[in-house]
């Protein structure tokens, strides 16, 4: 994260664009292959026209997500490096985060890191049963759920019956 946020283009920039770029480059502390922008938890980056003060708005994946404090600290650090030391980080809960907000690029990065991305959520408010989760290692659809809960609140544990590899699956929410 620090290497990216301290890159010259960001550090030398000013205003909303540089703040947006800095905030968007912060990686998720628990899934370090994807940025908070790609994950869809970065909701807004705004600059007060009068004071120039930047406000970053984020939303948690799950209410109890223990990574939120680290994410807030990482955003402040990135924005400080980008010339916005007085940035404010706000947390909102509405509208609630959905895995549908994960970008296409983000999904590709998850898959490349061995984490099967979530299927689209079929009905709002109802947890969808995943129809077929492809193995991120060998692309086989012959997979099975090992545990409905995984190493973080947003993941379940799966196993591939073709190549026998266990893998994480981001639960559709």
């Amino acid at each position: 994260m620090s290497a990216r946020s301290a890159s010259p283009t960001i550090a030398n920039g000013t205003g909303r664009a540089s703040a947006q770029e800095a905030a968007a480059s912060v990686v998720d502390p628990e899934i370090r292959v994807i940025t908070i922008d790609e994950l869809g938890i970065l909701r807004a980056v705004e600059e007060d026209p009068a004071s120039g003060r930047v406000t970053v708005t984020i939303t948690p994946t799950y209410t109890g997500c223990p990574a939120m404090d680290v994410i807030r600290a990482d955003i402040r650090r990135a924005l400080t490096a980008a010339g916005h030391p007085d940035a404010e980080v706000r947390t909102v809960y509405s509208p609630p985060w959905s895995t549908d907000w994960i970008s296409e690029g983000g999904r590709a990065k998850l898959a490349a890191a061995g984490i099967a991305p979530p299927a689209p959520v079929r009905t709002a408010g109802v947890v969808s049963l995943t129809l077929a989760v492809r193995c991120p290692q060998c692309s086989s659809p012959e997979t099975e759920q090992v545990s409905r809960f995984g190493s973080t609140a947003c993941k379940a544990l799966w196993r591939c019956r073709s190549c026998s590899e266990p893998f994480d699956h981001l639960k559709a929410l």
């Binding site: 799950y62 809960f149 609140a153 639960k171």
Partner: protein, 241 residues
């Protein structure tokens, strides 16, 4: 109950005490996957509890934040329903509690998502997605144990019989609340009935309905739970790590 503060505090305390009880399973669940599952559900409940406690503190306007409300109240000041403070007991009892609580929280949070209070609506919209997953998980276990072996059936039925009377308190009418809990009873019954039937379990027909939690009159179990949950904060005020 009266007013948004008491209502919000009651929901917050349900979630907080449920989280604390579930966390007791950590490192001692019957299998590794279930250990992770119960810890995850506890984390969800804790997340909802923090949002609700923070908002309750704001509604009260007396300067109490989430920590003050969680750690510096005595048992008589807690407003959780009795069902969440009952000991974990047999694994089947934990599953009965988990299932019934989720079957109550899901329609309640869903109704809350459409209520006039914006803060409660946001919390409801967020938490209901998590409750739906908890309900799924609880229902799976109730069916697996109820429709399992003779022994698992016997223990799951005993658990349902033991916990069922305590569910009634969750639906005590409160017409002045942002969402009257009595109005979500039909949704609860619609979910619970078919799951118990599929699990080959009998829905108890007991008129006994212990209550008192919403008024701060608890079972003896709550004080022990609070002692463990609060001891560090009380012994070392403001401790952080």
């Amino acid at each position: 109950m009266n007013g948004p503060f008491d209502f919000t505090l009651a929901l917050a305390d349900d979630a907080l005490i449920a989280a604390q009880r579930l966390a007791e399973w950590t490192t001692r669940a019957p299998e590794m996957e279930e250990d992770i599952a119960l810890a995850n559900i506890a984390l969800d409940q804790l997340g909802a509890a923090r949002l609700l406690l923070s908002y309750a503190g704001e509604l009260e306007g007396a300067g109490r934040d989430e920590d003050a409300l969680a750690y510096l109240r005595d048992d008589r000041e807690f407003r959780n329903a009795l069902v969440v403070e009952l000991p974990n007991d047999d694994f089947a009892v934990t599953m009965a509690k988990l299932f019934f609580l989720a079957a109550y929280q899901l329609p309640l949070y869903t109704a809350l998502a459409g209520c006039a209070d914006e803060r409660l609506a946001a919390i409801g919209a967020k938490a209901r997605k998590e409750s739906a997953y908890h309900l799924d998980h609880g229902a799976l276990w109730v069916k697996r144990l109820g429709d399992g072996t003779e022994e698992s059936h016997r223990r799951m039925q005993a658990a349902v019989d033991q916990v069922w009377p305590y569910t009634h308190e969750l639906f005590a009418a409160d017409p002045a609340a942002p969402v009257d809990p009595a109005t979500v009873r039909p949704a609860f019954d619609e979910v619970v009935g078919p799951v118990l039937a599929e699990a080959t379990l009998t829905q108890p027909d007991s008129a006994w309905a212990p209550a008192g939690g919403r008024a701060g009159v608890h079972t003896e179990h709550l004080a022990y739970l609070l002692a463990e949950m609060q001891v560090l904060h009380r012994a070392h005020p403001g401790a952080k790590w």
